[in-house]
Symmetry: C2
């Protein structure tokens, strides 16, 4: 009966399908390399609302509605929503979903939330508990800055290793059906702590978690980079991307050009002033829905490993001198070819 492959991976026996997805972005994301890929771009930081937190809530809600529309599935047909975000007590998710009338599971995986939500949703469908599940998450630069760092008006100088929280959301609807890309494997992360204490260097803190989950995935599935058309990490940025690549090379693994980081794809680092790249729950969630899944639909990639990374710290833990525990959850998405 067990569907487990090794310590961290399960293989789904009747893989659910990705039935529909949507990505919503902010103004800066609408000026980056993926500008034409979003389903909706806001012209400003407010999304028509009066606070950044309400803007984030509106963005999540819009993204959820767009995904339902594109999947041709009304919310009343959803069995569960899995959602979470970076705001204290995950308020943007809860407020965005409060009028949906769908059974709701709040998840917290920091920037790994999309992969965590997809993992749990896919297992509930494969296990016979649900027919349709939505995974939705997002982040907002302004609400994150004031919560985690400084008031925006202060205009603090950013470290070269710092990342830029993506204003964006992604939503994916998984269904028990016979069409669309399949979610075949779930590799669940263990919490990893490499002792990094610099909250301006999340890439370095999270790269060991990505390394841990990728090597577990390859060991559990007896696969390697060659078995995938593309491998994505969530939001390591350029700094974390290079650290992960070095860690893998030390193990004799050549990632080649197949390995990409969503935090490097969403912005033009040369012209957009984002230092190491994008971060936030909305980073890999929106890149998945705006870029990866549409490319899979076109047959550019047929088998993808999506490994979202998250830093499980808070301003309080940083102030108390703690290092940064991190996690990485991975899922395999493949076309039936």
């Amino acid at each position: 009966m067990s569907k487990r492959l090794g310590r961290q991976t399960v293989a789904l026996s009747d893989p659910p399908r990705l039935r529909g997805w949507a990505a919503v972005g902010g103004k800066k994301e609408g000026e980056g390399p993926l500008k034409d890929c979003f389903d909706k771009i806001s012209e400003d930081a407010y999304f028509g609302e009066q606070s950044w937190e309400k803007a984030e809530t509106r963005m999540l809600r819009d993204c959820f509605s767009l995904a339902c529309d594109k999947a041709k599935l009304p919310p009343s047909k959803l069995d569960y929503i899995f959602s979470g975000d970076l705001l204290n007590q995950c308020i943007s998710s809860a407020f965005a979903m409060r009028d949906t009338a769908v059974p709701y599971f709040g998840t917290y995986g920091a920037c790994s939330t999309m992969a965590e939500a997809l993992s749990l949703g896919a297992m509930l469908i494969d296990g016979g508990f649900a027919a349709n599940v939505c995974a939705v998450t997002g982040s907002h630069f302004c609400s994150a800055e004031r919560q985690y760092r400084f008031p925006l008006e202060y205009g603090g100088v950013r470290a070269p290793t710092a990342q830029w929280t993506v204003t964006g959301a992604g939503a994916v609807i998984l269904s028990r059906r016979r069409e669309g890309p399949r979610l075949t494997h779930v590799t669940t992360g263990m919490i990893t702590d490499a002792g990094i204490t610099d909250a301006n260097n999340m890439g370095a803190a999270m790269a060991p978690a990505a390394f841990s989950t990728l090597t577990a995935h390859f060991a559990d599935t007896e696969r390697d980079f060659d078995d995938y058309d593309a491998v994505f990490t969530g939001d390591l940025g350029a700094v974390g991307h290079d650290i992960l690549q070095s860690l893998l090379e030390k193990d004799g693994i050549d990632t080649g050009v197949k390995y990409m980081d969503c935090g490097m794809l969403i912005y033009d680092r040369k012209t957009q002033g984002v230092n190491s790249g994008g971060s936030g729950c909305g980073c890999c969630a929106s890149v998945l829905a705006a870029h990866i899944l549409p490319a899979m639909e076109k047959g550019i990639w047929n088998r993808v490993l999506f490994a979202a990374t998250g830093a499980l710290m808070s301003p309080t833990s940083a102030q108390q001198g703690e290092s940064i525990p991190s996690i990485c959850h991975a899922v395999v998405i493949e076309n039936e070819v």
Copy 2:
């Protein structure tokens, strides 16, 4: 293949067993009605640590270890941990579990987290994805007060409807085996918002969520209060308990003495100065592990409905004038008789 009963409930086909559990409490909890039921009581608020956040982390970690010991299961045999807490970015859970080397799913259901974690863990076992799962959560009066309300030194007067955040943790280990109480049904809450904006009256905000989930559970399962030996809500306190009872009575449902609230059981409201009662993730989690499950072991109750309630707000949402969205997740636990 579907295991769904109605919109919000699933019936598990091969119900997992509650294999072991533990409860840890603070000093005040060790002076209340359940004082002899905890596995461990701290003599002060610090649990041997230097900050309240680290104390909360230590408490969760101790509770987890005790549950593993009592279940005679080393952490290396656990397939997943589900954990979450009230602190911003759920740091006490993440820091408590960072050295366990167990695949980790962060959950956020505010004070409903124990039922959410049990729900997801039970479904993953029943679906064949795991053999052993731990659900663990807790809360700490001092860390919650300074995050949500006032510095403790300020000594703010508490409203009569206010509740006292429990310093306590509960951990339950679910396993695929043939002994122990079974977790047979999962009823997942929808987010409910009755428009309450008073953050000092969480009982009133959460009672409608409990009403929604209980009535959904009874409709989905074609059961009623008579089918249970006892029904517990999580932390409505005396105020919310009475509101829920009134809502049910309006629907012609007489709860009788079977209906109890964990927030009323953990303290002596006459002598312990807790106003409406206990609250926090650790409230129903520790009452479950310290009181409900031991009573089931003794055969005092054989079929219990455990309905944990959570308020999905934050200080920021309250400051922005938002009302309080709430949720209630319920699970059925029964002895094989």
